[in-house]
Symmetry: D2
Subunit: 337 residues, 4 copies
């Protein structure tokens, strides 16, 4: 088994998650952790027994083959450009950028680079959603007609994250835009988005929403409904349902265990996973495996900068729809994506 | 137990369903069946051992206390007006009318009458949905934030029904408009509807759609998503889910039996009921029981002409939204409802 | 539709249940209620608007075609013999007797009578168990190998009932003996029973048990496990699972509604029905329908005195097994059944 | 993180499974693979990039701290004795022996050794069963009254395995004996076992059975029912249900994914895992983690030679019960366990 030397920039929540997976993967060796925040970098490096390094040192080190970019979202694109410029392969946490035009302008530079750039959208690597996709592609429900996505977070993020999140659509719905595009396999042509602030009025004061409903229409008239909420009271609600001409396929929530309790109030299943880290744990490991396959030339990246741009264009359109209280025509929007 | 003398006008599918329930209810005595189609009337009357009569004779018969109006939709309003004019209490199959302005104009006449007029929306009498409503009202999930309704028919109706159906929104979504209004307990202020013709191009040729997605917003910012389809491939899909500040409540599909089969393809439950008649069988019986309670002065009709008008106004708004490809502001729309 | 004149003896819990079903069945007319306890008889008769009569008067009335025997268990056999002697058809609540030899001795007299005698075992008329039986007979799981029956009561009966119940096996397990015989379609050849008193030590003081596990083997080596308990803490637990050479079929518990709640403790379904009257409500109505079919010559009784005797012989064998702490060989036991 | 040098004896199915888990565990370094079958050893060693070694060399190597014994069952005890004699800690695949008296005789030697001996019963490390055990211990269902275990294999093993398997009770039911003892936390005092050969008559010709039902009674009168089969037609059926004075807890089968399909035949879940290796994959990894904790002195082995002996005594008793067609009194049976 080939072992790939890889380094990490960004020692926050997502960086730590990827770093721990790298540490237990037989296909990678973690060579160092970089972060502007020396304390964060130090804690993670110490936990995993690897050195703290600067990003510049990573880029300059010819023995490091690939970089995981999990720094703050606003620095993703710059760090990716630096990495590809240094001949590194890149595993970048989504989203690549919060600004579609900037990203569009950088596409040529990224793609001119000789090394692969993988943008990690975790849903595409979830075994449950992959099984759904497989069955759709096998025609198990005939022609696809409708997709319903429920993506509800257990609890709102800290208020200080809201202003730099890019807003609900770019931070949260962006997953659903990518999932829907992937499952349907067609571009969307129309989008209507509406929302409310029901969870916390402070979010509204910050100019964001916490509850949203969207309807998208694809080129082939597949209709997609997306439901988002920043609060559930019962864990991370992650469901997808696909309706076709010959039946329907449903990805239900998973439960933390297969134990249920029979009591006078009814039969109670085990709770859902509370966080994305638990729910998509297997997906995050599969992302790494996929990236190893990419590095070994076995496959192309499942998702790249253009997928990130498409999702971003959809998020922009959702904001326009919300603000204009009107559907948005998407024709031409993906011209450069 | 008091027994109420009741007669039926309309011996079609819905009339037959109500007539058979009357025949087995200890609280009613079916006195006669009227229908312009003598053959239909004769078959039903003969099955139940009651006489075929004219609607005029029913209205003129002082011993008949109440009338079930289940004639063709276009004649509902006229038959109801005739009945209340003759001093009969009325059980009218939904919808009371397909034209909102006409109905609005007739409201005063209906309400001036001394006898109750009950418009039968079957969902409100379904034990599962009633349990959901009870739990919502008890605050089991805190403040209500979102409602999702799935209402998918197993198969499209005969094409000759489409032109006189009033269109998908008035014929089918009308149930969901009433269900949503009832569950939320607030008027809607905005509605967006979109749709496609995916099931049968003939339906499009007739100017209708067979697949629809709608988003409604209530005065209190509760968001409601409605999904409609004229085809499933797996029976009548009837689900409602309510999301609140402290959890969610879900009405799942019922199954025809509690038997499931464990096989190599997985565990297969029994199928769903195929038709509305099976799925809402208990609701139809409960409607009759409710009507008996109304006749005995124990309660007011749960749904009356104004509920029918509200649902109709929403259906009209959905048509405008679909045609204009734009959300519709509903303020003022219910002024006369 | 033919209407059968029928009368009831026994105005207790089961008698009342059957009487109310008769009152709402279009196929029967309830002609009177008899009970040694005049108060019980009077209340039920008054509720249903029928006269209180003596059992002698019922038997002497030539216009009454059939009798429902729902008196105390100890009088079932005598009342049945009187009824058939008077030319009445009989619908007898199970069990026909608590003493197998007495019942065996009376079989000839019962069967010599010209009128049908139906012993009502409610499980055979439950739509869920009937669906299981149908699928077994259709070979949906290949050759039947094993049956598991869970029959757990929500709460122990009143202690004063225990001494006249006949004991757990004759009062409660008797249903499972009949269900297992019916589903397998073969006689049993061996039985092992064990039990404990875990619910209430008073039951043990009265010489009975409240928890039992049994293993039966049929002539064709199908193994059947029966689990009984007098207490659940969560309603009436009624499950059957059949394992075959090509899969398994399961009858799960039904729930009171299709509503479930998603909360932080997990997803909670609606509770199970609490009592046999709720769980088997549809079965009790189907028993009556079946009896009407019997009276009209459309079918033979699905269960008769010999089925009651078979179940009773199995209950006797279970008592011997429990007391002897040893399996009991059943060969020859059904010689006269 | 401390890394433990460990070697493996036995490169068959179970040995390979453990070896692959060791290879991806950050807490162990696999130092070598031994097997009498040089080809098997070579393939596994080559796959994992470790040397083929002799068991003697492993025992003689002072730098190797621990040994995984996964050789053929008949050699488990001898290999464990050799290992503890050489000062190695031991991770031994169940069962330690097929002969209870031999094992009892060796107990003193094993326990005199200074190093820990862990006998790997996978159920105790399954996250679902551990959650059940935790909830039982927390009193979630009050006093435990009954346990039901379903342990059905998808398909019978190769016939040549039957003679050296030790028979169904020692090879297969042994898991359930350990699970039941663990969950109840009391010794059993009585056992009744019966069985049939329904899957394959060749198994009967070899003196074994393929279908079994057992009832065990604990010292505190908890009743335990075990159901075993060598065939399902639908994957590996692994369920446990515990009934208590205040409710019940159930471990259902897990499914391979959370995808279900709605079709005209009903709603079909994803299949169950087909093999023990899939179903208990997480348990096998947890066993290794537990063993690392044992090596680091953080805990005692969860299961040791005496647990293996207890399960073996129960399997012997089951054979006696089956052959004698009679319950077996277990008092005194565990005197030396």
């Amino acid at each position: 088994m080939k072992v790939h030397d890889i380094a990490l920039v960004g020692a926050g929540r997502m960086g730590s998650l990827h770093a721990r997976n790298i540490a237990t993967s037989p296909r990678f060796r973690l060579c160092g952790v970089a972060d502007h925040n020396a304390e964060l970098a130090g804690e993670l490096a110490s936990e995993l027994g690897v050195p703290v390094v600067s990003y510049e040192a990573i880029l300059a080190n010819p023995s490091i083959d690939a970089v995981v970019v999990a720094s703050s979202t606003s620095s993703h694109l710059e760090n990716v450009l630096l990495a590809v410029g240094s001949g590194k392969a890149v595993f970048c946490e989504k989203p690549l950028s919060l600004d579609a035009d900037t990203l569009a302008g950088a596409l040529a530079d990224i793609e001119r680079a000789s090394r692969p750039v993988f943008i990690a959208f975790n849903r595409r690597f979830d075994p449950h959603l992959k099984d759904l996709k497989r069955q759709l592609d096998e025609g198990r429900i005939g022609a696809l007609e409708t997709i319903h996505i429920i993506n509800h977070d257990p609890a709102a993020p800290r208020l200080d994250f809201i202003p730099r999140s890019g807003g609900l659509f770019k931070d949260f719905t962006i997953h659903d835009f990518d999932t829907a595009s992937w499952l349907i396999g067609e571009e969307f042509v129309e989008l209507f988005a509406t929302g409310s602030c029901l969870v916390d009025p402070e979010i509204e004061a910050l100019g964001d929403i916490d509850t949203a409903k969207l309807i998208l229409r694809s080129a082939g008239n597949v209709l997609c409904v997306i439901s988002n909420s920043r609060r559930t009271g019962y864990g991370y609600d992650q469901r997808v349902e696909a309706f076709g001409s010959q039946g329907a396929l449903r990805v239900d929530n998973v439960t933390t265990t297969a134990v249920s309790r029979l009591g006078e109030e009814g039969t109670t299943s085990a709770p859902f996973p509370y966080s994305f880290a638990e729910r998509y744990a297997e997906g995050y490991r599969a992302e790494l495996d996929h990236f190893a396959d990419v590095l070994e030339g076995r496959t192309m990246p499942a998702t790249g900068p253009r997928d990130s741009l498409r999702a971003l264009r959809l998020a922009d359109a959702a904001e326009r729809s919300l603000k204009g209280a009107s559907p948005v025509n998407l024709e031409g929007v993906f011209g450069d994506a």
